[in-house]
């Protein structure tokens, strides 16, 4: 079952739009500002999902993440939120890249190519990169677990 209140595909900014906006802005501070806007606009998670168990470790801010698998479409749906808006912006990028894909698609996505395209590797502090990688790993693990449980 998909929780329609949060991070549904329809509410998400598509990756292509993020690319275009980044290119248009050019300057890294402006891009970070845009990330904040993306973060502010990110649909929120229900409070009862912000549990210790759903927390992603290795981030400077609190990050919660839940993955739902839709048996019909065989796609993985992601829900995530942070208390820091810049991080929510990064979450928006991750959701745009990973949302509503099959586990196999997720594992095959070269997310670092996305980060490169956005220049995030250059603009994020090492700690923030750690946090970002923590989220990516969490998503990958869910996909892998799903794939192992039920090969497509």
């Amino acid at each position: 079952m998909i929780d329609k209140t949060n991070n549904d595909t329809t509410d998400l900014v598509p990756l292509q739009e993020i690319y275009e906006e980044f290119d248009f802005l050019g300057d890294s501070e402006a891009q970070m500002e845009y990330l904040i806007d993306l973060g502010l606009d990110l649909p929120r998670m229900p409070a009862d999902e912000k549990t210790e168990q759903n927390r992603v470790h290795g981030c400077q801010s609190n990050v919660w993440m839940v993955t739902d698998y839709d048996d019909d479409s065989r796609k993985l749906h992601l829900h995530a939120e942070s208390d820091a808006m810049i991080v929510n912006g990064l979450i928006a990028v991750l959701l745009a890249a990973f949302q509503s894909q099959t586990p196999r698609d997720i594992l095959e996505t070269d997310i670092h190519a996305v980060f490169d395209r956005l220049g995030l590797d250059r603009h994020l502090s090492p700690q923030r990169k750690n946090g970002l990688n923590g989220m990516v790993n969490r998503i990958r693990q869910s996909a892998l677990a799903r794939l192992e449980a039920q090969p497509d």
């Binding site: 904040i36 502010l40 801010s61 609190n62 942070s82 820091a84 808006m85 810049i86 991080v87």
Partner: protein, 415 residues
Amino acid sequence: MTAINTPLDVAAFRAQFPILQQKDAHGRKVVYLDNGASSQTPQSVIDRTVDVYSKFYANAYRGAYEFGQRIDDELESSRETIRNFIGAERKEEIVFTSGTTASLNVIAQGLGSTILKEGDEILITLMEHHANIVPWQMIAKRTGAVVRVLPITEDGRLDLEQLPQHLTEKTKIFSVTGMSNMLGTINDLPQLSAAAHAVGAIFVVDAAQSILHEEIDVRSTGVDFLTFSGHKLYGPTGVGVMYGRHDLLEMMEPLLGGGHMIDRVYEDHSTWAQPPAKFEAGTIPFVQAIALKPAIELVQSVGLEAIKTHEHELLTYGLERLKDIPGLTVYGPAPEHKGAIITFTVEGAHPQDLAFLLNRHGVCVRHGHHCTMPLHDHLGISASVRASFAAYNTRDEVDALHDGLVAARKRLRLD
């Protein structure tokens, strides 16, 4: 040299820091309020560094030639300046290290491996920086000693009522910060020293923060070990100081082995040189140690009292000014018990976002746990924003912090 009771001429002081004269990449004036992490560097320190590299550079304590002797002289002169600055008895009690963290590790492991046995206690406090926590945990693990933690009061001062239960005959070492790098709390070192010595404990002070704001006289205060870093004292990075009472330095084992710290090396064992050499293994950061002297001279030329008065003014002005920020919580005690550090959170705004948005206004502050995780855990927060002031900061810069916060809250749609 010290200009007693002359108020600090902030403009003149500030003019000595080239970095503060420039605009940042976006043409904004730089409002540097991260002095607790590292202070900026005056021209005199930069010049001294360049001079050594381009006029008389040679490895220290090694050469019979002129450059070598010049370097040795300059090093010893810097050591003497430090001795005088902290009121140590002998120049040989001043050990150059790579920083406060290194100094504290040298003390913890050197002292610990000599005097600690199972069941002995080391007392630290809840407001310590990780550099004054982790080394003690490490030596405790190795020796079977126990690290105990003195709690703090609700307003962020050491809970002295609980001192007697924590500082006992079992306590062999009491290590405390001179000034909290998060709360700003200034601790009463003479009182704590007396309490430590009353139970026969060795009294160690992490002066990384306090050295720049509070006068210290190790002899009259009864400090057995004092540690600080050059880079927080308007000096260069890569150099720190470990002061130790001479008899303790003689007794203590060195942490690092290598050149210069030995008396004699045999194939199967070695004997150690006298302090300070015993603790100065390998090539020391001699250029930085020499360039630390003009930093201390700068402080001495205006006087720590004048610096303190000015910084305290900024602190009270800042606390007053920030009062109108909705959802603001400032940590730490009332201004009369603290140095010029304002650490805070703003409801609904993550410290990380605040630090980023403040930077959009040219204001440099730090966010995170400031290497005080146990303290943050105790306060029930995972991160905070810290504005920490130095002698070159001005009221304008406090205003910039205020205005930046107002704008940041707007930007985060909190208004």
